[in-house]
């Protein structure tokens, strides 16, 4: 058996220890007889309550990274520690909002949002209360009894957000969740996410290829390099919130990010 490594620097209790530590992550996929390295030496950490955007062009392995964090994939090497413990398979402490529609089509909006609590075994009245609360958080109170097929793409993503927030995950993982929405809906969803994470002090890892999205949302941006994927640069974003899209500092950041992503 492999001796478990001690956590770096043996944290003293109560110290501002990062919530999530990713160290030297490597992921290799077998593709038609040979091996393709998708992630190599990828390291970063996330602090409690932080909103981190993982920015990169398509094919840089950012979705693979998110799947590893969620527990859907196992890393080939490296460690993922959540509160000092290595993460295993999928768990409600690391929930995902997918890009695609992943709601249960046979459940209503309300039942979809209450699904995780039901699995947890929460009694019906508390579940109902929680569902009502999160329905109002995402502005869907009147749509509780609708089926997913009857609501728009933006509303579906609101439901997807509510059904994981209700489980109070340690980290919320978002995989280009607004990429398939129209521009206006996307901006609405971005503001919604910001207001909710402010209210719930939720830690969020948000994968995107959209520079403006990263600039609006992030406390910190991790720029990913390609082939194999790694964290090329860390860009703290100190702009005040709410961020105005006309603010010269914001525009500066965007054009800087654009340049960085292009190289």
């Amino acid at each position: 058996m492999r001796p478990r490594l001690k956590a770096v620097g043996t944290p003293s209790p109560g110290a501002a220890e990062p919530l999530l530590v990713v160290r030297d992550l490597r992921k290799v996929f077998p593709v038609g007889g040979r091996f393709v390295t998708v992630l190599e030496g990828l390291s970063f950490h996330a602090r409690r309550g932080e909103l981190i955007c993982i920015l990169g062009r398509s094919g840089c392995g950012k979705s693979t990274l998110l799947k590893i964090l969620a527990g859907f994939l196992r890393p080939s090497a490296g460690r993922v520690l959540l509160e000092g413990r290595p993460v295993g398979g999928p768990s409600p402490e690391r929930c995902v909002v997918f890009q695609e529609d992943a709601l249960f089509p046979w459940l209503t909006v309300g039942e979809n949002i209450g699904f995780g609590l039901r699995v947890k075994g929460l009694d019906r009245p508390s579940r109902k209360r929680a569902v009502r609360r999160y329905l109002s958080f995402v502005g869907l109170t009147e749509f509780r009894d609708y089926l997913p097929q009857a609501i728009s793409g933006g509303m579906k993503q609101r439901v997807s957000l509510a059904r994981v927030l209700i489980l109070e995950p340690r980290v919320l993982l978002m995989d280009e969740p607004f990429a398939s929405l129209d521009a206006q809906t996307r901006e609405e969803m971005q503001s919604l996410l910001l207001s909710l994470r402010g209210r719930l002090s939720q830690t969020v890892l948000f994968v995107t290829h959209d520079v403006n999205e990263a600039a609006v949302l992030a406390d910190r941006i991790l720029l990913m390099g390609k082939e194999p994927g790694f964290v090329r640069e860390e860009i703290p974003v100190a702009l005040p919130r709410p961020r105005a899209r006309e603010d010269p500092a914001y525009l500066d950041l965007c054009s800087r990010l654009h340049r960085l992503v292009r190289d």
Partner: protein, 258 residues
């Protein structure tokens, strides 16, 4: 025209054509009796008192016998077909184990099992239930397998991250997600059950709707043959409605996905 009338247009036209053909003596009565004769025979068969005439009042007894056979055979097919189908849709080894055999057996026409079934189970209940179960098994199994195979992996991932373990996921996610296919398989299977019921009952059992048809043929009672056919159609349609509505009552996923 109201759409509620639409389904009745073809039956009404057929009935009219049938009545005209009799009236104009286009078809002699010994080949196809006119509808009023068939109607009278049907009334006597269903509501008459036993002994008043041949076949009078036998309907309840025949229907009960047939229903028991269809129910037993179909239930057997469902009890085996759905679990096996789900397993082989999800687990490659099970699919590998069963796939070729099931498809091979499926190529054997159900009717060719009849002689063997009669040797094994004798005439009556056993043979009929066997044939019904065999015939209904294939669509039930194949559709359950297809449904289980086509479940969006994203739904299973979503379930897993919300804390669903494998066993529970089968009932909380897999079954409801596969429900549209499962319903299709059940309906096809139930339809086939009625077909094979008649086959099983043609072999000389004393009661059942298929037996009545065969019996009437030997006595040259064309009217009773037609009555039997119509009653099988009615009961087949009725059982289909019962099946779909009870699925709707029992499963949200069946209620909301069609």
């Amino acid at each position: 025209m109201k759409s509620t009338l639409l389904p009745w247009v073809i039956p009404a036209a057929a009935l009219l054509a049938w009545a005209l053909a009799g009236r104009l003596e286009l078809i002699p009565a010994y080949l196809l009796p006119p509808p009023e004769d068939v109607g009278r025979a049907a009334l006597r068969y269903v509501f008459g008192s036993p002994g008043e005439a041949p076949y009078a009042g036998r309907f309840l007894q025949d229907a009960r016998a047939s229903l028991v056979r269809v129910t037993c055979g179909f239930a057997l097919a469902v009890a085996v077909g759905i679990p096996l189908g789900i397993l082989s849709g999800r687990l490659a080894p099970v699919q590998g184990l069963l796939g070729a055999t099931v498809n091979g057996l499926r190529a054997v026409p159900g009717i060719s099992w009849l002689p063997l079934a009669m040797v094994w189970f004798g005439i009556g209940m056993g043979t009929t239930v066997f044939l019904v179960a065999l015939a209904a098994f294939f669509p039930v199994y194949l559709n359950a397998a297809a449904g289980a195979r086509r479940v969006d992996p994203l739904l299973l991932q979503a379930g897993a991250m919300m804390g669903v373990r494998r066993f529970r996921g089968t009932f909380a996610i897999l079954l409801p997600a596969a429900m549209p296919h499962i319903v299709t398989g059940l309906r096809l299977g139930l339809g086939l059950s009625w077909a094979y019921l008649v086959l099983g009952e043609l072999t000389g059992v004393p009661d059942g709707l298929g037996a009545v048809i065969m019996d009437a043929r030997m006595l040259g009672r064309i009217d009773i043959i037609v009555v039997g056919m119509i009653l099988i159609a009615v009961m087949g349609r009725g059982s289909d409605l019962l099946l779909t509505s009870s699925l709707r009552v029992c499963f949200k996923s069946a209620r909301r996905l069609s």
